[in-house]
């Protein structure tokens, strides 16, 4: 197996892709946003429960590739209980790491760092960032549907 594939499909990612955490509909969500990537058919629904400026619960359901699912699973795990400002800061770091390829951001991202290999796969960056855009939209209440195409 070539090393960049190793880097992309790390065990943590495969595990979250196979057994996604927070993978359920959320009763009492304050907002829900649909995220889809028409190119590959990734399709998720993200449920957010805001308690003041705190994300008191965060879940998702839907289907897609291992990368998008692992990213959603890891994101919901990392941001549950965080404030909106903290979530936004994490999103910016994640974006810099995955989209801009700044791997130094990985240090401040905890478990999310395992997704850094995605930056070497330009066609997969959208998979990793899909639910993040959905979250951004949910927090700012802009739209009910986001698309990474």
């Amino acid at each position: 197996m070539s090393s960049d594939l190793d880097d992309l499909y790390q065990d943590v990612i495969l595990d979250h892709g196979r057994k996604p955490r927070n993978f359920r509909k959320l009763a009492g969500a304050t907002s829900e946003v649909e995220g889809m990537n028409p190119l590959c058919g990734d399709h998720y629904r993200l449920y957010v429960k805001l308690d003041g400026d705190k994300i008191s619960d965060l879940t998702f359901e839907g289907s897609g590739c291992a990368i998008s699912k692992a990213s959603a699973s890891l994101m919901t795990s990392a941001l549950k209980g965080k404030t909106v400002a903290e979530a936004e800061e994490t999103f910016q770091r994640f974006h810099a790491m995955v989209v801009e390829g700044d791997r130094t951001q990985a240090q401040g991202l905890g478990k999310l760092a395992v997704l850094q290999g995605v930056c070497d796969f330009p066609t997969r960056v959208k998979c990793a960032s899909l639910v993040w855009h959905a979250l951004d939209s949910a927090i700012h209440g802009e739209q009910k549907k986001v698309s990474t195409e």
């Binding site: 499909y9 897609g64 291992a66």
Partner: protein, 420 residues
């Protein structure tokens, strides 16, 4: 005059088909991708181009480029001659009776839109029906949906069975008193199903329903004779037939084309213009407003000439062998399920692999130099019919080989290793 290769006598020295020899005509196939020999299994998306086509396009720009049907100078004369000759070649290749039944468009999509917006618009009214099938590409769904919305008409869909065959009795039942047009694909891009178009046309004509055939995947894999099929319209894309991108063909029976209103207005489609009144040009020019894709047309002509120079029957036999071999080899892969097992199939192998998403399969194969398509293949309703969000699709052309199928199977082994 040095325009199209068509003037070279064809067929005189036709050698029996040999995939290894044919591959030498396709310079792009010789490369390595990510350190591995390129295995191109995405020809249903777009085919690669033989050197003859690349050279014809480049020669056109190097030697003959001028606007067609306009000027009296030598270059325009040469360009026009080559352009018009290409129309004749297309007509001959698909068995059209006359070159004026060939309208040049950008691709299959534009051909379908042209028919929907002219023929369809003048024929379909409120309460009428447009019949399509469940295996259509979005390009043979959306133009009809738009027409139906505009007219208050209904889009009716004929179902496919679990193998991916059209259910003909169901299609026949849906040919009703309000059906104004039937649009059906010749070959399914996502499943490979070859539809019995001739039979379908007979069924429709028995009820006075005209038929448009989406030939995007038909022309590259099957000999097509539009008069034998007796279809009213047949649309296809040059780039899937070893020709350049940006050029496509709409065949229409002359009687229809004559009766249809023009689509786009502009130069070339007129005989005379005053501010009071415009007299439209004869067919096919009535439907070709503006400067056409001259290099594309000439390149498409060169592709047809090149196809005429090879042993096409041998090429088809080779493709059939690849399909059978590929089907058997893929079935050896544990957990793999082929989507689309129609009785008659073109060389398309759509599959899913346990719970591994097709997009992940595509990325891992790409690291092995293997190019496949993953996704819904612009056929979302069909994916829903088969209960999958997406598939991985290996689509073959006659320049593919058995060792390339072996490479695919080996690549799928890697996928299983990673997702063990």
């Amino acid at each position: 005059m040095s325009t199209v290769a068509g003037n070279l006598s064809i067929g005189a020295r036709r050698e029996p088909f040999d995939a290894g020899r044919i591959r030498q005509d396709f310079p792009i196939l010789a490369q390595r991708v990510r350190g591995k020999p390129l295995v191109y299994l995405d020809s249903a998306a777009t085919s690669q181009k033989p050197r003859a086509v690349i050279d014809a396009v480049s020669r056109y720009y190097l030697e003959d480029n001028a606007n067609v049907h306009r000027a009296v100078h030598a270059l325009s004369e040469r360009a026009t001659a080559a352009f018009d000759a290409a129309r004749g070649k297309v007509a001959g290749y698909i068995g059209a009776g006359e070159a004026r039944e060939i309208v040049f468009v950008r691709g299959t999509t534009e051909g379908v839109n042209l028919v929907a917006q002219t023929f369809g618009r003048s024929r379909v009214g409120a309460g009428d029906e447009v019949l399509i099938t469940a295996m259509e590409h979005h390009s043979n769904i959306v133009p009809w949906q738009m027409l139906c919305e505009e007219k208050g008409a209904r889009l009716v869909v004929a179902p496919v069975d679990d193998r991916g065959d059209l259910v003909l009795e169901e299609l026949e039942k849906r040919l009703g008193a309000r059906t104004r047009i039937l649009a059906v694909t010749h070959v399914s891009n996502a499943l490979g199903t070859v539809n019995p178009v001739k039979r379908i046309v007979r069924m429709a004509h028995a009820r006075d329903v005209p038929v448009l055939v989406d030939g995007a995947q038909g022309v590259p894999h099957l000999p097509v004779d539009v008069r034998d099929l007796d279809c009213d319209f047949y649309a296809f894309s040059g780039h899937k037939l070893f020709g350049p991108t940006g050029i496509g063909v709409l065949y229409g029976k002359a009687e229809h084309l004559e009766a249809m209103p023009p689509w786009q207005g502009g130069g070339d489609m007129i005989l005379s213009v005053t501010f009071e009144r415009t007299i439209y040009n004869r067919i096919p020019h009535k439907f070709e407003a503006g400067t056409p894709d001259m290099a594309g047309v000439i390149g498409l002509g060169a592709a047809i000439d090149w196809l005429g120079s090879i042993d096409l029957a041998g090429a088809e036999a080779h493709e059939r062998d690849l399909l059978a071999y590929g089907t058997a080899r893929l079935q050896e892969v544990p957990g793999l399920r082929i989507i689309g097992t129609a009785r008659e199939k073109a060389s398309v192998l759509s599959f899913v692999l346990e719970d591994v998403h097709p997009h992940d399969i595509g990325t891992i194969l790409d690291r092995e130099g293997i190019a496949i398509r993953t996704g819904h293949h612009c056929a979302q309703p069909l994916m829903q019919r088969f209960g999958v969000p997406a598939t991985a699709r290996a689509s073959l052309a006659f320049y593919n080989t058995r060792p390339e199928i072996d490479a695919l199977v080996q690549g799928l082994g890697r996928v299983r290793e990673i997702f063990r």
